[in-house]
Subunit: 483 residues, 4 copies
């Protein structure tokens, strides 16, 4: 199996719906909109608030898992729902068991959860729980949260949740469904996004605002870092959202640490994330990249700017406008066309060529590139293998020169907060000791430039520079990694 996209993977998209008779459909559309956050598995759980939970989940895309519309209309009944898209987990044999939402029965009734992020103290919490007699069904971090809630000595359900969440560390944006409430919460660093919107009298919580848009819901605001937001029937009738805080002092100022990769690659360009429009941020990254690392044609001819579709499309627009600002004669072109018919992975029937995978995914428009100085704008490089094949493919069009520009810094460190990279050794930066000259040689391009961390953060004009986690570029982790 040849994974055709050499990008980090996010481990999920979540959605919650409260107070709508079409809760399952809204979740379904929302998960479609969040499909880019996880393509390995999907699930939706609904509740009719009479202790009846209905669930359907499976391996595959949302459209595959819910290929039978009756599941949505006849089985998944109820006014509230939570849903989840998952990206790869480790452990093949457990993979079905690990598909979220999870649900269990506990003291105060049914309890279901869908979680985006990664806990950094899951292992020690698990050990402690197991010592107390807890049994675990999955290898997932998320099950720890359920146990912590069930074992809380508090009698009030919200207090139980608060009790549980105050014990976990790391990144989490999550939705919890109980017999009568929808609870949404986000870690105090605000690492992963989470927003809430309104649809008539109902509420929708989702990883990104695109899941609100597809349902024609109105964006209200982001769930704040450290916030526990609760929707109940009473609140619904009063058009009220109850909010609790994970902090002892609710108004304490706490440094945010948003994942900068949400802007670089993860989030959908039409989403509003961490308070800013993703598309706009990508354009800015592209523009700064051009200002720092412009490309000129040696014969003073027009420079052709192309993207690696579709993730770096708007970054390339920004790059082109940056060149124009420098009065470089450049033109944005479509030099690569991406096939719509190939799924996430392509199984090449024979070993001998990785090449064919790239060719099946992308085709080049030769006329546009021939004899031109071409700038290829991409948002990130992980392993570099796909980039290498792509450059090779582009050379078939006989361009004059190929320059590669990356709108993020070199990735050198693993993420412990919910993003999956290949092993440290497989990262192209580490393979060549972060020596950009060697990477350039390997990729066989005429020049290669990345954005520096500083430059990257300078694009985040709506934010304080310190509001972002840049651990994967710098190795400086905002939350201690002990396990």
């Amino acid at each position: 199996m040849n994974n055709l996209i050499d990008k980090p993977t996010c481990n999920c998209g979540i959605i919650g719906v409260f107070g709508h008779p079409d809760a399952s459909l809204i979740s379904y559309y929302g998960l479609h909109a969040l499909q880019h956050r996880g393509q390995e598995a999907a699930g939706i759980l609904t509740s009719d608030q009479n202790s009846n939970f209905n669930i359907h989940k499976g391996m595959g895309l949302v459209s595959e898992v819910f290929s039978d519309p009756k599941v949505l209309t006849d089985d998944l009944v109820g006014n509230s729902a939570i849903g989840h898209n998952r990206y790869s987990t480790t452990g093949a044999s457990d993979s079905r068991k690990n598909i979220q939402p999870f649900f269990v029965n506990y003291r105060l009734g049914m309890l279901a959860i869908a979680h985006n992020g990664n806990l950094t103290n899951a292992k020690s919490l698990r050990t402690k729980l197991v010592d107390e007699g807890a049994i675990f069904q999955t290898t997932s971090d998320t099950e720890v949260i359920l146990h912590l809630i069930a074992r809380s000595r508090k009698t009030d359900q919200i207090e139980q949740v608060k009790d549980a969440l105050s014990q976990i560390q790391g990144a989490f944006s999550l939705v919890i469904l109980t017999d009568s409430k929808l609870i949404a919460a986000r870690d105090k660093f605000g690492i992963r996004p989470l927003s809430i919107g309104k649809l008539g009298g109902a509420y929708i919580v989702s990883s990104e605002t695109c899941a609100l848009d597809i349902n024609s819901a109105t964006f209200i605001r982001d769930i704040a870092p450290g916030e526990i937001l609760v929707l109940s029937n009473e609140d619904l009738n009063n058009q009220k959202i109850s909010s609790y805080s994970l902090f002892d002092e609710p108004n304490s100022v706490f440094p945010k640490k948003h994942c900068v990769f949400e802007y670089i690659y993860f989030s959908r360009p039409d989403s509003q994330v961490f308070g800013s429009n993703v598309d706009k941020m990508r354009r800015k990254l592209g523009k700064i990249l051009a200002l720092r690392h412009p490309v000129n044609d040696k014969d003073d001819e027009k420079v052709i700017v192309i993207s690696v579709p579709d993730s770096s499309n708007t970054t390339a627009i920004g790059y082109n406008s940056g060149l124009h600002k420098l009065n470089i004669n450049s033109k944005l072109e479509i030099g690569l066309i991406r096939s719509h018919y190939i799924g996430r992975t392509f199984i090449a029937p024979t070993q001998h060529n990785r090449e064919i995978g790239v060719k099946i995914k992308f085709n080049i428009v030769k006329g546009v590139l021939e004899n031109k100085t071409v700038v290829v704008v991409d948002d990130s490089i992980v392993r570099g293998t796909t980039s290498k094949q792509l450059i090779k493919l582009l050379k078939e069009a006989k361009p004059k020169e190929i320059h590669l520009r990356i709108s993020s810094p070199m990735i050198t460190h693993p993420c412990f907060y919910g993003m999956n990279f290949p092993s440290k050794e497989e990262l192209i930066a580490n393979k060549f000791n972060s020596d950009i000259v060697e990477v350039k040689k390997y990729l066989e391009v005429d020049s290669l430039e990345y954005l520096s961390i500083e430059d990257m953060l300078s694009a985040m004009t709506d934010h304080d520079k310190n509001d972002f986690c840049t651990a994967c570029f710098s190795g400086s982790y905002p939350i201690p990694i002990n396990e």
Copy 2:
């Protein structure tokens, strides 16, 4: 869906293998042999005793669930295994989740279980556990046992199991697999069967001895009522089986309450169950039935004895030999042939005929029945609907008379120890207030006779009459039913 067999259903067959490199294959063959105990789902879990558990389970027959042989040879590696065949459970949406074996991770490592039987205090135990913060993933009784083990304050694993099993009430024959041991246990009444055998240096535990025979293993003995039998690597090396007791005083004499239906219908005729050969017991039941309720031809011609294949085949042999003892001129014949090509259930494309289901399952041999006095021997009647259709079908052969003889008493009460009947109202005996004359009319036979409880038990010559549970015939339950 038209269930073609109108019989009570047993809720499972279990197997455990310890110390054999082909543990998964032995389990697979064993589950094939135990297929009659449960046809809805099957599963096998293996352990390599290095904390790695492998599992494969699914809905369907053993041959369907394990249709890919690679699963057995490549995935289910390890020297120890437990397996399970399940019959219908309630709750469609949970049905996949409820397939056994179950396995979890707890304080002392991995823990897997497969269970035959039904607990009578599961509900109250569950409530108590949940109050203490336990979370439940399934609606199955069996999960309660796992929690009780995990929460035991004992430090030794065997003590934990003993602690847990001493709290549960009802019927249970079970196998438990841990990282280093195979544990087999049986409730103190010995309601469901469980036996142990030897294959080379390895051990096999199974519901019936037929699962030993198919593996060419040697039968050692039954697990005793109230016994906890433990196989560990050390014991294996010393060719030793460790045995513990659920009773405080190990040698206390305790009344057994074997399920008499294991002899009447459930167990395979070639199995040795509760110390006796099943086939032999069925012949005795048939013989006594003949002695109590013989049939004569009014014209002194030969009486034809037929069975409803295949479950009452040997009972019919016994009945015929009983008639011979009475010097009645009778002959055992094959009057009904059962199709081998129809699965468990037949989906009739149209509503209008239950009739066709019986016709597809059975064909009559007209020549044998025409103008004869025919005795149809069957082991039990539950709803009576299939019997009615079968009699109707037999009449197409134009017999002189049809007499129906049942080798068990009227079923009038539900079973709480692991046997499934339809609702009390659906039982034919209850529909007609146990009035045999009315049942006879409904079935349109020339005569109908059941065995009385007394007569039935008189066939159990190897046993004390009090060793059997007859609650489904009498309503007198040996274990209190409070929930």
Copy 3:
């Protein structure tokens, strides 16, 4: 794949329905009843007599191919239908293409066919047709018949069919459906059976009468050897069946050559075939076998007679009654129980044992056999491999002696008229040069006896001895085999 039944295979069962609104359902039930004639594939085609043919066919059992009842009720509409069950054909890649019924469009409209038998001049006819410009889609003989009809110079459809059938040689029982007629025909030797019955105002044609019985239809008569029977709407209204002859002189006396294996093994015991009841014939074969080859116990104890279920069940009854006639103290017993849960074939996950296949299919009832002189009655032996394993299995019950009795002669020659054996070399008789002593040694039985051809034919008291084809036993082929 381990084919569990070592028997010759028939290559199909056919059915035709004319003039009934439930034509597809009647075909479906009929194919269920004919399932024993072919288990590899099934298909039904219906016509609404407005040139619309609907078809559904697939690999597998009838219940598998028609697992969706909607296919029968919603898709296969129309008042007339033909259906087909197929046994194995050669040529894996073509296997789907070769599933019958076939249908084509030709000069006079739609034309569909289902065929049981095998043509002996298919190859030369095919060559001739191809020379004239015909194109072939399948490798099946049956397609030749369609071409011959389409190319006939006759203008009348019945004349075209007669023209075509007069050119083919070999065994054929077939049903043809056109836009307005159902045509049934049988070769002049009457090798394979074909019968017609009546259901209200409608007609059913089928390979065996059991397909009439399941539909509660009334048997009218067999289609005569050499007869072409035509049902049309006009005839239907007049309650008339039109009959044509393949012979130039309709009343010419022609030797019949019925396949004797239909009585020995193929046909269902409750069917009426070639004018006699199959069950009755099997009993006679068993009785003669006993008279010729009785078995006595050396200690004058009771001899136990068992069958190999289910095909030789009634033969064993006949054998037992034969022994009684000889005043031998014998008893018919059930010594082998056949599993209902195993499909046609069993995929053993490991190479090393054919043995397990037999064990999974059959279980022995030890108590019945232990220390007894046992006669195993079987209808035929082909390869002998299953028999060998079965004897081995029976020996686990520690019988005093095992005697094997076969109710047919040794199979030594291939069949060219529609029955499939393994290759000549694989036949056990040929492996041991028809030396019964060697076969006995190989099977490890205490004695082995077959019926001679003479004795076998002496059982056919309702028929002239010359009315049967015995080529597979004698090598004397009634229809020349040139190709």
Copy 4:
């Protein structure tokens, strides 16, 4: 089912490979590259040139039909192959039967065919053939060609093919595989494309050159209109291609009638079709569209040009450059993003919204469009329903104005040469009597303009204007339509 793309559909892509040990793999990659020409079904047939044809075909995308790589490497062996992608055909029940390639057996051996196009005299040819005794298995035009070849009185195979092709009228590009040859042919009007390339010593024939590129083969030339090109083993050894003509006088000048829609929408932009690069032609169409129908912002602000991805991407580039030529201040932007995770069709679980289908397929980038004058460039409108929803969706971004520009004329007539439209009544142009004002109102845009036929043809600067078929815009059909 909601077809998300409102475009005409082409009925297939074909490929042929001759003389390469990886013929099946090359076909597979080629069909991937041609996937845009047909997504309903796919098939590959290989020949080892010893009269053994291997075939695999099925419903679905190439990646779905060939999801098991073993099929390609183990089953589809041989040095020559033909393959086919199909778009929708009529007749659900026949749909499997109609999947190409077709293959039959005829006088000179095996014969296989894959066909792109549509015959206009298929019906009368079929009638004639049927009258002569031919039988038809499918409802496809293509089967007619096989019969014509088989029935040709010529003895030489090439002459037979020539004989057959000279009788058919309409559009056809086809590949034929025989036991020893690969034959490629194209109708005399050259309606559908067909090209040949070289890969080492082997040859590849394919609908578009992109199927050559993906295999790194070198483009040689187009098959000429009216040419029959033959590859045989002898020719292969001599590096020779044999060419025959369908014209009596090979050098006769004949008007070409290329399908102009291949340039507008069908062909892949990176293909070379009819001698020109498709991408280049689309840019020209866009440019002319801008020159004829420019858009200005009423406040003299920058005009935003967006495409409907991905088919009109390069047309939008051309449009934007056209505006620049007119000195209009415009910018090409990405205003719509197309989801990669949705397959060809989307099954909406509820009736009530077509809207959601468009939202799932496309997302809008609000920031780019808000308060702007937006030009949406699309290549064609068929029904208009998707366009209407798309405009509605775009309005959510609150643009100042929306102007729709179509790079082709109004579609008013059906195509009989291999392109599928909905019924004439469903065409938006016909719904509004070709009244552009009404269409504009229906779509709710601020302005709407199409290219005129004249203007469209003026973009084809490499060709004579008369070289194109424009029947779907004008109703003037180059080949008479009688049937």
